[in-house]
Symmetry: C2
Subunit: 215 residues, 2 copies
DNA sequence: GTCTATAGCCTGATAGAC
DNA sequence: GTCTATCAGGCTATAGAC
């Protein structure tokens, strides 16, 4: 799982004792099941019963580990944005510009392939107006994107990349890579014989080479 | 509204009489309000009360016009896929290949700009597994995309376009254009001073020119 | 720590007066 | 056609036995 695990927020009932192995195992089972259910049904569509059953627990037992449905959801979201931005954070100002961007694109695409549930959880949240993470978007996210956009602009000014709008370049990378996870059903309905991810990396690589290769 | 209006499904109660002006006006108000609410909250997140209030009606009065919450949702979805595919359908085999694709891209982007609620309604449905329109995706959608992908392949074979995977080309167009509607909140959080749509058309135009211009 | 039982709220849908 | 009142079911969360 890519989610950066916060130190487990000890529930009030556990009174700051270190979590036992069983507690850790159950917490992990709950979060895994919740990721399945929330990413497939959205927050309102999910029920605690579904999550509990899928985690092999009874409903009250689940609520022994988390105080509420929203607490589970928040725990999932908490580490997600950070993790989701790691590939961008890793873009290296000292590297070769075109290679740095292509490498970023591949990391992001790989992340969609490996963690489609996390991508859909995020997509559900954003499409519905990001009620729970809007602040993080305008602060942490904006800060990082501003920084990397400036870097891309400097690469363009140096003639290392063909000129493009750096913000829209980044948006396009998010869009193209996450699309394969978020709209998976649609893509499979159209290409019903093969795994869409088979050809996607080559297509997207070609796209950004032609877009960005300096003249 | 882009939604192709089916002949209004006369509710059982109206016994096939032609709808009066008041009925038409209320139906339209309900569908407009429902589009607001469903696109912002998803099917489960929306309540009949919200829709009714937003349409200026009481809850039972709304249910006089539509038999159930799901019936309203289905009515919205019914015309949507068709409308959503019109820009692709209009791609002309006799036109200039690059111009045809660029024109398609612009139609699609304009649609996202003009009808973001419809885009988000669709996104909500697909991200959650397209439970209500999966069949249409594997039939109508697949058929149209197969046809247009073959057309693009023939253009490539004729040397009129640079070689690319035609299906992934189409997916990329969907992805890039709908992203501006579906992830609007995120984009605005990052570019907080200007309308993201201002620069998007130029960026996307550049992207597809560089990707597809024959060598 | 885990269960059964249930409180209490929300929501979709209906009854019936006007 | 529109309303008030209300039912019935599903859901979150809690009580309390074990």
């Amino acid at each position: 799982m890519p989610s950066k695990s916060q130190p487990a927020q000890t529930s009030a009932r556990t009174k700051n004792r270190a979590p036992t192995r069983i507690q850790q195992k159950n917490r992990a089972a709950i979060l895994g099941a919740a990721l399945d259910v929330f990413s497939a049904q959205g927050f309102r569509g999910a029920t605690i019963d579904q999550i509990a059953t899928s985690a092999g627990l009874s409903k009250p037992n689940l609520l022994y580990y988390f105080p509420s449905k929203e607490a589970i959801h928040n725990t999932l979201l908490a580490g997600l944005l950070d993790t989701w931005l790691d590939p961008l954070r890793a873009m290296n100002p000292a590297g070769d510009p075109l290679q740095e961007i292509l490498a970023y694109v591949h990391r992001k695409l790989q992340m969609s392939r490996d963690y489609p549930r996390e991508s859909r959880l995020f997509a559900n949240e954003i499409v519905q107006g990001a009620p729970r993470i809007h602040d993080a978007l305008s602060t942490d996210l904006k800060e990082l994107v501003d920084e990397k956009a400036a870097l891309i602009s400097s690469w363009i000014a140096d003639g290392k990349l063909a000129p493009v709008h750096p913000y829209h370049l980044i948006f396009s990378i998010w869009s193209l890579t996450q699309h394969y996870a978020d709209f998976d059903v649609q893509i499979r309905a159209v290409m019903n014989t093969q795994d869409p991810f088979d050809d996607a990396p080559e297509f997207i690589d070609t796209l950004y080479r032609r877009l960005l290769s300096p003249p």
